[in-house]
Symmetry: D2
Subunit: 295 residues, 4 copies
Amino acid sequence: MGSVRIGFIGLGSMGAGMAANLVEAGHAVTVWNRSPEAARPLAAQGATVAESASAAAAGVEVLHSMLANDAAVRDAILDGGVLDALPKGAVHVNHATISVALARELAEAHDRRGVGYVAAPVFGRPAVAAAGELNIVAAGKPEAMAKVLPLLQPLAGKVWPMGDDPARANIVKIGGNFLIGAAIESMAEASALVRAHGVPAKDFLEVMSGSLFASPVFKTYGGLIAEENYAPAGFKMSLGFKDIGLARAAAEAERVPMPFASVLHDTLLEALAAGEGDLDWSALAKVAAQRAGLV
Amino acid sequence: MGSVRIGFIGLGSMGAGMAANLVEAGHAVTVWNRSPEAARPLAAQGATVAESASAAAAGVEVLHSMLANDAAVRDAILDGGVLDALPKGAVHVNHATISVALARELAEAHDRRGVGYVAAPVFGRPAVAAAGELNIVAAGKPEAMAKVLPLLQPLAGKVWPMGDDPARANIVKIGGNFLIGAAIESMAEASALVRAHGVPAKDFLEVMSGSLFASPVFKTYGGLIAEENYAPAGFKMSLGFKDIGLARAAAEAERVPMPFASVLHDTLLEALAAGEGDLDWSALAKVAAQRAGLV
Amino acid sequence: MGSVRIGFIGLGSMGAGMAANLVEAGHAVTVWNRSPEAARPLAAQGATVAESASAAAAGVEVLHSMLANDAAVRDAILDGGVLDALPKGAVHVNHATISVALARELAEAHDRRGVGYVAAPVFGRPAVAAAGELNIVAAGKPEAMAKVLPLLQPLAGKVWPMGDDPARANIVKIGGNFLIGAAIESMAEASALVRAHGVPAKDFLEVMSGSLFASPVFKTYGGLIAEENYAPAGFKMSLGFKDIGLARAAAEAERVPMPFASVLHDTLLEALAAGEGDLDWSALAKVAAQRAGLV
Amino acid sequence: MGSVRIGFIGLGSMGAGMAANLVEAGHAVTVWNRSPEAARPLAAQGATVAESASAAAAGVEVLHSMLANDAAVRDAILDGGVLDALPKGAVHVNHATISVALARELAEAHDRRGVGYVAAPVFGRPAVAAAGELNIVAAGKPEAMAKVLPLLQPLAGKVWPMGDDPARANIVKIGGNFLIGAAIESMAEASALVRAHGVPAKDFLEVMSGSLFASPVFKTYGGLIAEENYAPAGFKMSLGFKDIGLARAAAEAERVPMPFASVLHDTLLEALAAGEGDLDWSALAKVAAQRAGLV
């Protein structure tokens, strides 16, 4: 595919690497970020820096956004004029992890404006984003998807299409983040158990993540737990709390009891109350160890 | 290594395949099982069939046992005369998943008798045992371990040595089984969530077990949940309940709160109360779906 | 105290009895309800019926409101013009069970308007309201409280003053409703336990509510559980779910882990998913019995 | 009724007061306790002091025992010769809080010996025992019950007969102790919630225990929580943990999921791990406050 006129809004630790990969792929990328320093390396790489989010959206064929949460998406896209600035016929690719409720609202708002909408939340930590190896779950109308899928290749190890309804991609992302949180809490409790019986967590976790659970989540988080390496955070407790909150809100909306999610909620809340919101959420293992009197 | 005189007690769905692999490896294997039919295929393969468990232990260099639970191990090894029948200097390799308390008692009893003792619990379902691809966690005194490790090769994809104290292997096994149960419950809740939002569990689980969670446990149990394929069971609810009970007993002994284990306990108990103890424990997904009104 | 010009908004099963007691006490009461039939018995008793909520507020010395939830309060008082219609110097007595967040917002809005504000949520079911025997928790500025306390006498068995800040009364009410839900779930689980061991729930609950737990909550809900008398509801599952939600929101805002509240949330959600939202919330005992295979 | 020859085994903080009330009632009481000092005040009051538990049982018409737990009961009654020492036709009144399983075993053992057996566990703290105001739940065969009920009058505010099967009294006691634990945890969580919103626990608990929850359990434990008065313990965390364990064992035996009991288990375990096993179990409120960062 040839060069496409792309806007990219949100250059945090994830978005910066993603935008860089789009520039690298030869597209004409206009970027914007709330704090402008984040745009400099991209400018050096050849991106155009816009004065505002709306300016980054004006005239593009495709707009990517990678914003932090529901509030940031609502502020920028709906209230801040970005959707209004998009040309009719353009497509907005929303990479944020947002609530199902907002996902539905956004899909309708884009429809009314005649702008395509693809929900494309991503799995992967910043280094994976920079390497262009994200797992991207994408859903939207066929025409919009056809336009967007080639653009996702430089960002993704794999793209997982999930059908026509954008909200489907969001619920898969929300369910996936719950699975990660539950995997961490599982390792946290099991590690406290084996430690209390004299086996270092590291020995236990190496067996597990080297055999039955050999997978990125168990290797990554198992490694952090084994080393008690909770700061600086790759993904903060406070963000984990937000994501479990998205799962619980989606569960409540459709009346799905999730007792593991309730345990995660209470345990993360305890960590936040203890002032540990800035630790990596693998520090659920710290809470489990404290409860067992191990620290 | 040359041919070793081996006894093998317990020819259930796991033990039968393991014993066959020892015969296949060229050892002189004497087998015994409570119900004698299970021994026939092994006899046809060249094994000697003993009249009693004690007879299978007499005169061996190494005795393997693969019995169902604490009670079966206590009955056969301690109360049934097997330990007394073992020659001094022989080594007993206990593959069963047993409590930490019994593990300690067994280690002491073997010591007093001058018989070596290696705890070598295994991870893997029957097909994996038959293929000689188990993950085996093994612990015991160096001399006993040195004798046993070569014999484990034909049984194992990988052997994970865990030090001198046999109970260390058992707590790792117990912790690992808890991790499996927690992974199933996590997938069960997440699947109910996405289904309630219109995404088939299969679509969701394929993304997860094909990316961040690409590992045997998530692929195996994710596949069973996706297909709602709960019978015949590879590993029954009732056995899962027993294994979570081992984790909870070990946790209580050392005062380790494990709220996920408590949720698993209550949920498995609900399944048993509903008469579903013979389903595969992936049917935790059935409980989660019922609670959400999805079935 | 002499006759006071009172407005009363919200004549549901609770409000109707409360308003009747104010009329009975000799005050000049103007009432309003969304569905006008509820006002007729009060008109027959001597109340004036207003055309609108705002009309019921115009010219009063004190306005009572007994509305269903946050949304109803916001609609009527803030968005529907009631606050604007209140004379400066009047006092609004809000009997609703609402969130702490809305409580704070209302206190500020009344302050800005120069209208007094007393939060006065009530404990008691409809028969208790009709009998004028409610327990009322009341908080607000001293001047407003002084004006309102005499008016609460005909409604209350006892008034519990909670200080200057109206939100204090609301958090006490929210905590109290959580205590009621937890008492029901406790009786539900204990009843399932004794039933499974052959003791009728009634025999057990009579001992408990006749001795250590001799109190209105245990007698009332214990009686409903003993008789499995869940319909018609005195207080619906769906309302219990709302109230536990208020407790959980208040807990989350201040980072208070409440694992019992999480269990209540999941159990009530299961009942709602099963279509039992209209049963009395004592039917938590039905859920507990079902989980134990007792029904 | 005239004077009865009574033995009394177990003069702890509960048993001492109970035995004193039997002496006071004019019966010929022979007492025994493991540490003999506890018998001295009773000797001064007119009781005979036996040299052994068996000696206290020899020749009596009725034997009361008030021992600490399953192990103590098994040691003394079954293994220590007390049952063998009882005359045929005598009745043993067992006041201990024991498991349902041991209750059944004891009933059968007494039957075989031709000795009557009444399970008569008690509700009440030491001061209540001393005052002769216990609530006693009693079950056993009609003949044995007829003999025993008059003797319970000086001990009890009220006796609650529960039928022929002694185990029925034990499951009611176990269910009741669970209810007490759940009430404490409920007050603990609610108190943390209101405190986090600026309301002292005392203010909240006075409303509750003075209105909807006006009952001994809420007044007693509510008072301890309000004053943070956790030592010396009236009833220790470690004993509460034992009692919740009895409930959980009875629940597991009949497959009754009890999620509140699981929360209590995990929370008490956390307190024990923190070295707080000797605090009163009202200190569940301390755990809840710590989790919320309030202390």
